[in-house]
Symmetry: C2
Subunit: 362 residues, 2 copies
């Protein structure tokens, strides 16, 4: 079995099979640092042999760290499209990393909670991710990892500007903290646009499920800091966390307003989603996401037991196109993928208890 | 309790609670005869007192017949809009009967399998209806009823033309036989138009669920003879029955072609309908009809037990707007009606077994 297949088939990972308590609003948190080697040209300017030298150097340094368990290095040009797409759907690599596959690589740990992209826009993109709202714990881990790595690698650093990066928007801390939020309340109440504008003013960006330019299917949004310069990492994270707490409050508030003012519409959407997901034989990724969103809302409203949330969060990822291809172990066209997706969802939701409509929303 | 309320609340009727074997394609059969009194002007030309005299005369004659059990006479101008609409949804009266309510009436039996409209387009419209495909049995009943009635009433009759009617399209036998057919196979395969054209050439008309100009929601069509003149009643019925048998064959054939060629789409529609109807909290009459249509198809494909067909056929009528109003015993706007409809359907389908997808279509 190929290494990548073992990685793909491993579902005991941070995002696919969390045993931790999940949050009603936050699906997962991520922190990434952009780092570059002081003595090498930026990836976009490096030729093939330079890029390969960087992969070799960084790969060795990362694999010898204590902070990463059973690390695996994958060369992007040795992966096929589907494999790359699966890693993207798990948020372990980016679209940009695949655009120049020669001399690009990723190192990840067994639980897939840590991934380091080599020769993306910067030499290194160090990322830690965790289910739930966990920015501070994540920062500790990333910080320790970065410090360890800095002992063996010489990072490009300016006393005036901080860490140097290929794009000036990452200059300074090179830090981007982002949180995946489930915001059906704000979307359904029509308040999402207002919230986006408000957080933009505070230097915070809102994107769809798969980053820049992607759609927010399933009412899932990626919210992250924009600024990397002029503040300490702790301050950036603290400020983001404060804003996100406000967004969480507004989301919870919006949900209960919706439930009060439009209870039938909400119950109807939840009921229909519950019935559809368990009985459909053909479902697109987008419809699945939107239906799963209402099922997650049902858990938040105590209509389904809490443990169902882990299952739903897992399906948010497992019903993405490349995951469906991987599960089928075959090349499927869009139509066959929609059938396989429906089959997987039906199977996973087989043991779903009845919706408890005498719920007490809390 | 008002008489009309007893009639409305009586669900042990021919169409709402049949214990007879139902058919995979034919929901119900109806035969009606148009008759006029020889010595009275046609209803549209009669003044109020003339119309009332006709009601009195015919009412007495009908109520004294042996062929009608516990007959009830209802004056249309004493019914409110909802009551009239419920009777229309049960196919017991027509829209035309309600257009001039003064001096218009209907006599029906307890099981609501026989109804005689007085002062519709003709003085008398005698109708018998029965679940399933039952034209010949119905004709025997109507014929006997008509013969009995003719002993006490003097019908307008010409030795050359036969029974005289207000509209020449009913002249002769005054007979219209019609069958309510469930034709999802022909609709989904796109063959319905071809079938309509073919039967039109044979003097047979295809209409929607509630007659002329109505939509065929739930893939339900009313198919009836057009010609009333120049043939005996037995010939008309025999010819219609022959054509309908061909339509039934084509429908069954179309269903299995669909199931072979587009099985996933069909299973998906059936699964979704099953899930939606049991879990929706807001559903329009049209969506309900179309979803129920797929549920009926599931019974025909042996995915649900045969006894479910009676329940579904009942819901085809019980989820119509006035029936929903009557069930709620309140004046509901369209929105509240959609909620009540969803509630009734959820309740009725509570005991629905799981879909058996290892079905053997027969």
């Amino acid at each position: 079995m190929r290494l990548i297949d073992r990685i793909i088939q491993n579902e005991r990972t941070e995002l696919l099979n969390t045993t931790r308590a999940t949050s009603a609003v936050v699906l997962s948190s991520r922190i990434r640092l952009a780092r570059n080697l002081a003595d090498s040209v930026f990836p976009a300017r490096a030729n093939k042999s330079q890029r390969c030298a960087i992969v070799a150097k960084c790969g060795t340094a990362i694999e010898s760290l204590k902070g990463i368990k059973n690390p695996v290095l994958l060369a992007i040009d040795e992966l096929n499209d589907r494999d790359r797409q699966v890693l993207r759907e798990r948020h372990l690599i980016s679209k940009e990393l695949c655009e120049e596959p020669e001399g690009a690589a990723v190192v990840m740990d067994q639980r897939q909670g840590c991934s380091v992209m080599i020769n993306e826009e910067d030499h290194l993109r160090i990322q830690f991710l965790k289910s739930g709202f966990n920015l501070k714990a994540l920062w500790k881990k990333v910080d320790a990892f970065d410090s360890q790595l800095e002992q063996s690698l010489n990072f490009a650093f300016s006393p005036e500007y901080g860490y140097l990066t290929a794009c000036p928007t990452n200059l300074g801390t090179g830090l981007r903290a982002s949180v995946m939020m489930h915001l059906p309340g704000l979307v359904l109440s029509g308040h999402m646009e207002r919230v986006v504008r408000a957080v933009n003013h505070l230097g915070i960006t809102v994107r769809g499920l798969f980053g820049e330019g992607s759609e927010a299917s399933g009412h899932v949004f990626q919210i992250s800091n924009q600024q990397t310069l002029g503040e300490s990492e702790a301050t950036i994270i603290e400020r983001l966390a404060q804003v996100l707490k406000t967004v969480i409050d507004q989301e919870i508030n919006a949900r209960f307003c919706q439930l009060e003012q439009k209870s039938i519409q909400i119950l109807d959407q939840i009921g229909r989603s519950y019935g559809l997901l368990q009985n459909a034989y053909h479902i697109s990724s987008d419809e699945a996401m939107n239906r799963l969103s209402f099922l997650r809302l049902a858990v938040d409203f105590n209509m389904l037991p809490d443990k169902c949330r882990v299952l739903i969060d897992r399906l948010f990822i497992a019903c993405q196109p490349a995951h469906i291809q991987a599960a089928a172990a075959a090349q499927l066209d869009a139509d066959m993928r929609d059938c396989k997706r429906a089959e997987i969802i039906r199977e996973e939701l087989k043991q779903l208890p009845k919706l408890d409509m005498n719920f007490t929303a809390n």
